[in-house]
Point group: none
């Protein structure tokens, strides 16, 4: 038996975002695994969950019993299916799969049954504050070989994340003019759903006219519309033939997807916020969505993600795992292994790695001509330069998401 000898948390932020990875060391000298448990906004709570709660539970146990340990970690706190604990479980679960594949001397995709494709098609974001800038960004991506582009118009980043900070720009649109706000409204990132929908529709038309039908267009609503607006918006988008519309509805409104399905053929992708089987299973069993795109560490790691990929396959649904900047390269590589072995792979979101990130995480998958390639090393294939990681400490002040508000000041889901 190969026993778990230690579980250590490494916090590092080489790309400016707080990443949390875990090293599981075994009784076998030199045999260890890495897993991702990054929940940027609440990374200290995840760290505590790993160090204070899971580590004492798994020390000394058989590292080869991955499914048993997943169940033990998941059920042993009694309450479960939430983001902090799921990320903690994921970090260890992913590391155990890394160890398992290293024991077998195989890349993880090989352990799981072998590749169905050589590489995974990816998409990135193209945004712009005006149509010219947007076109430039789309063109740049196409010239890079990208065949899928996610369009965002009229705004900047999703929002600032400074602790206690209430300003910043809302996702997908310029700040709402102060003149239309009621007197005394609180500070925040003001956001007008109607303005957002109108400007996005015009941007989408512009991109289709400019670039034709060869490129696949994606768009992310980021769960900020009411259900009735979201369904109407999805239907209005039909002429632009989206590859998918992402997160049109928030996790609290999922049952509206039945009405979405009956009203529009715009393909629906959803899942980055999901932590609970009651979020994903009914959507799949009813065939109300077209793509599952969970954040693998948020759903509890590779063990449940592989199962969801299998269930999705049976129900005719494709995968598009969440791949933002707050997934570590270990998490991105894990996504890639899933992508290579699932017949129902759709597309992969990808935030490109910086040079520094590649140094901190040797073995990062490679991006070429619109595809993401594994490195064919045993296991997940990515290591961590722990010394170097320490040079990029996490910033405890960067833990808050946007405070998005409607024109009248209502705080909305982010």
């Amino acid at each position: 038996m190969i026993a778990i000898r230690d579980v250590r948390v490494i916090l590092t932020a080489p790309m400016g975002r707080n990443l949390l990875v875990v090293k599981v060391e075994t009784s076998e000298p030199g045999l260890y695994g890495w897993g991702c448990g990054t929940f940027t906004q609440r990374y200290q709570a995840v760290r505590s969950a790993v160090v204070d709660h899971l580590r004492p539970l798994v020390l000394g146990r058989d590292a080869g019993r991955v499914e048993e340990l997943w169940r033990l970690m998941m059920f042993n706190g009694y309450w479960r299916n939430g983001p902090v604990l799921n990320n903690a479980v994921s970090a260890i679960d992913m590391a155990l799969w890394d160890i398992k594949a290293k024991c077998a001397g195989m890349p993880l995709y090989d352990l799981w049954g072998g590749k169905l494709r050589e590489a995974a098609a990816v998409y990135q974001h193209a945004d712009g504050c005006d149509l010219a800038e947007l076109s430039d960004h789309v063109r740049a991506q196409i010239e890079q070989g990208m065949r899928h582009v996610r369009i965002r118009f009229g705004g900047s980043a999703v929002g600032t994340r400074q602790s206690g900070e209430v300003g910043g720009l809302a996702y997908g649109g310029p700040t709402v003019a102060a003149s239309v706000r009621p007197d005394g409204a609180l500070d925040g990132a003001y956001y007008d759903p109607q303005m957002y929908m109108r400007s996005t529709l015009s941007a989408m038309e512009h991109v289709r006219v400019t670039f034709g039908n060869e490129v696949e267009l994606l768009h992310d609503v980021h769960e900020r519309l009411t259900p009735s607006d979201a369904i109407a918006f999805a239907k209005q988008l039909e002429p632009y033939r989206l590859f998918f519309l992402e997160d049109a509805l928030s996790p609290e409104d999922l049952s509206w997807y039945g009405h979405m399905r009956h009203n529009t053929t715009t393909p629906q992708a959803v899942g980055e916020l999901f932590n609970n089987p009651n979020e994903w299973l009914p959507l799949m069993a009813n065939r109300w969505i077209d793509f599952v795109r969970m954040h693998v560490s948020q759903m509890g790691g590779l063990t449940p993600a592989r199962k969801v990929a299998t269930i999705a396959e049976a129900f005719g649904i494709r995968t598009a795992w969440h791949g933002p900047g707050d997934v570590s390269p270990i998490g991105h590589a894990a996504n890639l292994h899933l992508n290579l072995v699932s017949s129902n792979f759709g597309v992969q979101e990808l935030q490109p790695f910086t040079e520094i990130t590649r140094e901190v995480f040797p073995g990062c998958p490679e991006f070429r001509q619109g595809y993401f390639y594994p490195n064919d090393q045993p296991g997940i294939g990515v290591d961590v330069d722990e010394k170097l990681a320490e040079k990029y400490p996490c910033d405890p002040s960067v833990i808050q998401w946007t405070q998005a508000r409607l024109p009248d000041g209502t705080l909305v889901k982010p």
Copy 2:
């Protein structure tokens, strides 16, 4: 504006179970509130979530905007609806309601519209290793004035909770004989679902025969049966006219409640494990259950609990909030305020307070003749003797739930 000046976590274990309560201090001298965020098995992660993540978010904000702050705390981490963060949010949310009612100079029930009843009927557990012992315990409760008794037979406590410990007794039955286990099976708390169902049915019959129909009988499955066993068991229990059957199905199997409803009239109570609206809303909208019994801090505090009580009322469902030993007296008092103002109140679980607990938490509600009474003080009505609380520190080694195993060694949900 009354601003939030500080948020402090108090950890204490006067009853032997690790409790987590939060004190929210305001800019108004002497004005503060208390809230419960107890998640015994993962209390360190909750502590981190409050101190590292929520505290910097709420400091300086208007303590009177309870719903706005609830939304801010809930949505600001982006990922949500899980046990660690919900407990953290609950602790502050409950404290803000305490402050609000103190500002009004009213008990919380009064602020919320006034009492519909003077006190709340409660139930406790009666267990026994044989039928004689069980009868003695039931009789003792009836003599105390209880009109509802929860029956548990053949076992002891739900399980030990020592870190890394794999032994202990499983809930609801004696350890399975080693002779029926496979060779080499791991140590743990062995549990035989068939033996459990048979012995519980015979116990229930014994209690009905012995005590007649005047007493209401309850039973808690504790989510340990497969769906098909749970439904058959509920149907077999019909002759004993249960007040309700608790947690017959696990959170991952909730859609089976539709089949439960079509097969039996045994009333179903469920919810102590719920953290996510996708767990409770479909059950209520389909009228598949009879009682909601969430753990208020696990669902995110009084703000969502009041809403669920309102929705349940609309759908003809009653409340029976979770009230075990790992809810602090502040949480128990909060449950009581909910019970007093809901027309659809059903019954309240109660773990009686020890003398020491009453000293650490001055203002504990009073139990008399089967009822639980509030103390009519402003706010929630319970305070904390912080000095005394320190004398009962939490035990970091007590963080693991039972490792329950089937006869063949399979680790099951706890």
Copy 3:
């Protein structure tokens, strides 16, 4: 790359039943895998499918790409999802998993994530022509350590299988008296559904009274009742608390399981005849059954079986893979690997191996005290003594199933 160098079919009948296993040889000297594709009644057609159709398709391809090869074999004939081709695909698919695990140096259960239990609980058949004989057989099994017994009353074996032969006894009951048949009715195995149901109910009561509640009772309808009889029968069986009722409905009547679910809590197990996802997926997605029990080679091998186990787990359904005498020891060992890694394992049917079978198939799993144990060798763990296998050639005359008839002579499903 490890290439497929040859694919050879071995036909052997050491237990008297025609078995078909396939050896996949690779470019790596000494590295080969074994798979089971036994379809006793139609083994020559399976042999042709492997030799004439699949062998030329897979020769020279990468043995490590198991999922890709499964898809290629399954889709390359265009028409698919039937018993002959599925068995042919299964034989190669299973051999490829054997090879994969041997490459990893792990037993298959370890490759797949590690054991969740040490061994799998099994059941066998106890039958009898009268109640005394039945009791003797049940007692013998309990004394062997069995905790699950499948009861069959009043008849002998499922039927003779001689080519062109139309006599023999029908499953589950004595031949119907000639006096109640119409004049001129054809020869065959006459069967009276009402007599069968009555005698089975009385046998089940007798066994429960005689042996008490400690033993789990199972029963197999073998798809021979009309839907309305099957549902009424399942409900009448409720007092005897079956572990499950097997194949109450035929594959052509599956939609009746919705009505079954609403009428009885007798657990339903079904699947040994399934070849097509449209048979199993709706039953699972609707939660209309309690156990899936497909014949792994009939559904296309380990690749789809693992997926079904995963889907079943998500929907709260357990596994009870088909394990009759016409599964080779390689197939039985493959079932066992599935059983060890699935959290939702229920029970395993097992036909004990004879001494000769163990010699022909060295490495057979061991049976002890009601459990079936793997041998912990890399891969599936069972080999074939090809020389010895030749000494037990298949009997081409034994290819027909019973001709079961109703009292009026109607030929019914077998």
Copy 4:
């Protein structure tokens, strides 16, 4: 009683495609029947099923009991409802109907109740690599009198079928440029679903504009789209008023037809791949499709096909039986008999016969001005020149279907 004296398989390929027909000889000198059991890609396995398994079962039995023999053949292998066995059963079943009608001295349509129409409207394929070529082919068909034309654009045949061959062209579009494939992707017939949909929509618009609304247009997706693409595509086709859209979804995705129905009025025809009642019955009972178009030999012969036509009539659904080049003239004539007697006949696919085919199969139905006419001979009306048939032997190397791949190399359903 007229007994079955022999069952012989004839393999012949006068049109270049491997055909399998069966001759059932009877005890009556000169009385025999012909049936089609063609499964081109797996014809050897069908041959074995007939010769090794069904022949010994039916020899000596009463040839007049067609339904009894169908049941015997279908259920006697126990496992059933798959393509190899269904084709084997079909060949004998069709021959028995041929014998029955010959005994009655009637054409089959007459035995079945008489003609509802004189001839059956047919459609053929018009394809083209550019719009001009496509228009030429459509025009040629209209000039021949066809009122229904199936449109295929931008590609050639469905694919090559050489054993082990991995190249060839994918159905419905030119090969995907190598530049958009990932490095190292396997060889195969690359296929881009988006390119296919775009080019087909433009072709359909072109044909409608060029030829007006008098001609009925059909299109075959050939099960190669994901469900969400298929539904969107069907909706986008609405302006071109298709007579039907064929096989928009694969057999594994049939439950998506419910969503299809709610999203578009484009009529849906499906069934050529069906082998199992669980594929066709729910689609009809839910009225989710508009045309059933099973391959009669793949579903088990005329006995089940007539029943499906009857059920379809009850549910308001029309027939359009599969009639490609890999149906023998005997099978085509059988389709025609079905068409003549069903009130709910829709249209018939037809691959025109070559001169040589007409010589090998004397009695082929005649095609004139868009209609297919029977020859009014007793029975099915088509014979086989067995000597001549031998001159066109089947090619054992032609047994594989296209290896269609997505741009990233994923092997897709054919």
